[in-house]
Amino acid sequence: MVVTNLLKNQHLLWRAGFGPMAEEMHQLATVSQAAYVKTLFKSSERKPTYIDVADGALKGLVMGLNELGRQKRLNEEERRKIRQQSREELRSLNLAWLNEMVNSDAQLREKMALFWHGHFASRNINILYQQQLLDVIRRNALGSFATLLQEVSKSAAMINFLNNNQNRKDHPNENFAREVMELFTLGRGHYTEQDIKEAARAFTGWGANLAGEFVFRKAQHDYGQKTVLGKTGNFNGDDVLDMLLQQKQTAFFIARKVYRYFVNEVVDEDRVEWLANRFYQSNYDIRGLMHDIFSSDWFYDAKNIGCKIKSPVELLVGIRRALPMTIQNEEVQLVLQRLLGQVLFYPPNVAGWPGGKNWIDSSSLMIRLRIPQLIYAADELNMTPKDDDDQMMGMKAPVMDARKKKLGSQAIAAVIDWKVYLRNFSKVPDEQLIASVAQLLLVVPPSGKEAVVRNYSDTSNREAAIKSATIQWMSTPEYQLC
């Protein structure tokens, strides 16, 4: 396979972001990667705006409760209402972040944030906590991994999700200590059960209040001696996080995971070692790590291009970037996330989304292949996602059934704005249109399929040909890859 300049840029934009925008497609063949890399990093430098969808009344209630202390106990009905509202607002947060991924020019930051969102997976229906954690992740997405780890570990979302509020002197809860080692830093096999027990003692007293602020509860902290990873001392939680960062294994673990996510699931150990060493020496500078990857020659090797199965979010966002559209019924995007197995803010568990081939089964693949047609022809989806009782909890049965029915039969109801996209083909001769569309949309050559797509496209005029071929090429397995 010849790796053209066009292909290299597409590869870069799909991996360091969510694929090319309709507006920039015409320049992909000519701009250099160095220039693109520079722009990607530059546009991600800005501090992100806090995404805030939470209703004022909910915040007021929470703050009020905080002032009153825990004396005022909410009754069951009030608590259910809060949970219900919180869940509704998580849907808004999901859509708001999705829009950022589509529209923000800080593509690298949002992509990196999506990576950390899976790495620091937290399932928590409290909207305020989730907003905070998302902000922590977006602010530090390209910053220092040390800071990111510290802030995440002290976030109310994580403290609650991993039960650290229940981690008390004499009654340690090991959940956070275990996951911080197994999933966030070292990885399995680089610590002992004894390390977890001792580290859990160091994290005793770490908690969060209702407003989502970190609190250190002195009375619950175990001030005794602990031995963690071969060192003994009167450690607190911060000390343990520092010790985990001092371990070179942490740099290896993260570099490897980043490599698998951004470069190739088949790991080249020499490259990872090189990346990990530099990452460690830079004091965990994420920006540097990503720059090392995207500015290397090997990143653009043929074997690293088109070898990744897009996650559902990458797929949906990518389509919206290529084909700017107005979606009347935004909620249908949540249904698609559920049908395809990736709902933002609802990772399957603390290990995040497994990714790769795990995205694909007969149902999910066929739904993926149908999506472009659903958008284009405004068909009804007519599929019902599975119940998620964590999301539905507390809803009364008739309400829930009605909602399920409604969700399942929704149309995407999108209007594609073709103008800008069509302009990319103004200079393409008629007979090359079908192939040209494939070239701009796919990073895996669809060898031998042009005739089929032509057969199933409307070639009565240029515009119809471009539009229908776009939909058909997007409905191929090749388009699932990046």
Binding site: S362, M366, Q373
Partner: protein, 399 residues
């Protein structure tokens, strides 16, 4: 008649002599028929955490009635099985099956360090992991991995749903989800998909794109395969017009055909009864009861009841005490039903939960659910349970 493993592999792989055709393209060729008489497993998932204590009621237990002054079901109202146990009044068919010797009830099923999150606990049940492990494959999926390496179709395990559950996903082989054989994937674009799939030429070393085309080709050919079989001997029996009724009707029609499906999976919910439990559980139980009634009658009429095992499970049970909203909150251990004409042991299989020995208000489990899986895999499906579950679990004696 039990199918031997060798036969199963032959049947399952639809082997053809043509070695030159890439394997997944063979999926388009005509399948060979499976001899009838083999064992079938139907798994009914009660999603949301069914309240086991109001399902199999300990009718002489004071603690039960004290903990549930409002929700407790009186002995006279329950369908008495023994002196100390009665069924929920909505489960009349289950009572008949009990009397008939076709029902087994296993109490106190759960796992160590129970998790009270729906999603997580369901993952644990479906993947057959320990509560601290994260496994990305399901137990039926790994059964497929073990039994049909090289199979062309994922139809050995079918889920009646639009979305495939984790339970059905193996490392190499995944089951197939479909709600209605007539419209497996609703694709207006079906002809295009078939044309494009046929055009694909896989290279020697499987690339990700080949994997996707393989899945696509298998799905398309499975759709035709299932549709054809669903019309071979469609049941003429009357089923209730509920989702569970329709699903079991579809399953029955496929069971009567010579399709190669060994495992069917379906779900009913939501049993997450934090509020107004009585009505909600009754509504769901009635749906289950009527559908199972029609299903068993149909199986019996077609002499297949001996070969079919239907089992129910839920991700957890509920707390012993009722809450303040006429409901119950997330709990731990729970009971499972086994329905078949081929049970080796029937009735109430072990002791009812001990309400004097609770852990923070919750039941302690007495049977690990993985023992049930091992039993079903080994004794019913003749599979290598040790390989599938990653360890040797104890066998039970209900089949």
């Amino acid at each position: 008649m039990l199918i031997k493993r060798k036969e199963f592999l032959q049947i399952g792989s639809l082997a053809t002599a043509s070695l030159l055709v890439p394997k997944f393209l063979k999926a388009f060729e005509a399948p060979r028929r499976v001899p009838p008489g083999n064992k079938v497993l139907v798994i009914l998932q009660l999603s949301g955490g069914n309240d086991g204590l109001n399902t199999v009621i300990p009718v002489t237990n004071d603690i039960y009635y004290k903990s549930r002054p409002k929700l407790g079901i009186a002995k006279e109202k329950s369908l008495l099985l023994t002196g100390e146990a009665g069924l929920n009044p909505a489960l009349t068919t289950f009572k008949e099956l009990y009397d008939d010797g076709s029902l087994g009830i296993l109490n106190g099923v759960g796992y160590p360090n129970p998790d009270r999150s729906h999603f997580r606990s369901m993952d644990i049940w479906q993947s057959a992991s320990e509560s601290h492990e994260y496994i990305h494959t399901g137990w039926i999926g790994r059964y497929l991995d073990a039994q049909c390496a090289g199979c062309d179709k994922p139809t050995q395990a079918l889920e009646i749903d639009d979305v495939l559950s984790l339970a059905m996903k193996g490392e190499a082989v995944k089951g197939l989800a479909m709600k209605d054989p007539r419209r497996l994937f609703n694709a207006a674009n079906e002809k295009y998909f078939k044309a494009i799939a046929r055009t694909h030429a896989a290279g020697d070393d499987e690339q990700p794109v080949d994997y996707l085309y393989k899945t696509m080709a298998e799905t398309l050919s499975s759709a035709d395969y299932i549709y054809k079989h669903s019309r071979q001997h469609p049941t003429s029996a009357v089923y209730p017009n509920t989702e569970t009724g329709r699903s079991l009707k579809t399953i029955a029609s496929l069971i009567f055909s010579d399709i190669n499906t060994k495992v069917y999976y379906l779900s009913l919910g939501s049993f997450d009864t934090h509020v107004a439990q009585e009505g909600q559980q009754r509504r769901l139980f009635t749906e289950m009861n009527e559908a199972v009634k029609a299903f068993v009658k149909d199986l019996k009429a077609n002499n297949r009841f001996q070969d079919v095992l239907l089992m129910t499970f839920s991700e957890f049970g509920r707390r012993v005490a009722q809450n303040a909203s006429g409901g119950t909150d997330h709990g731990t251990a729970n009971n499972m039903f086994f329905i078949s004409g081929g049970l080796q042991r029937k009735g109430i299989l072990n002791a009812l939960p001990d309400l004097t020995d609770l852990q923070e208000g919750d039941l302690k489990h007495t049977v690990d659910f993985k023992n049930v899986y091992a039993t079903v895999l080994h004794k019913w499906l003749q599979a290598d349970d040790r390989k599938i579950l990653g360890k040797q679990m104890q066998y039970l004696d209900f089949v």
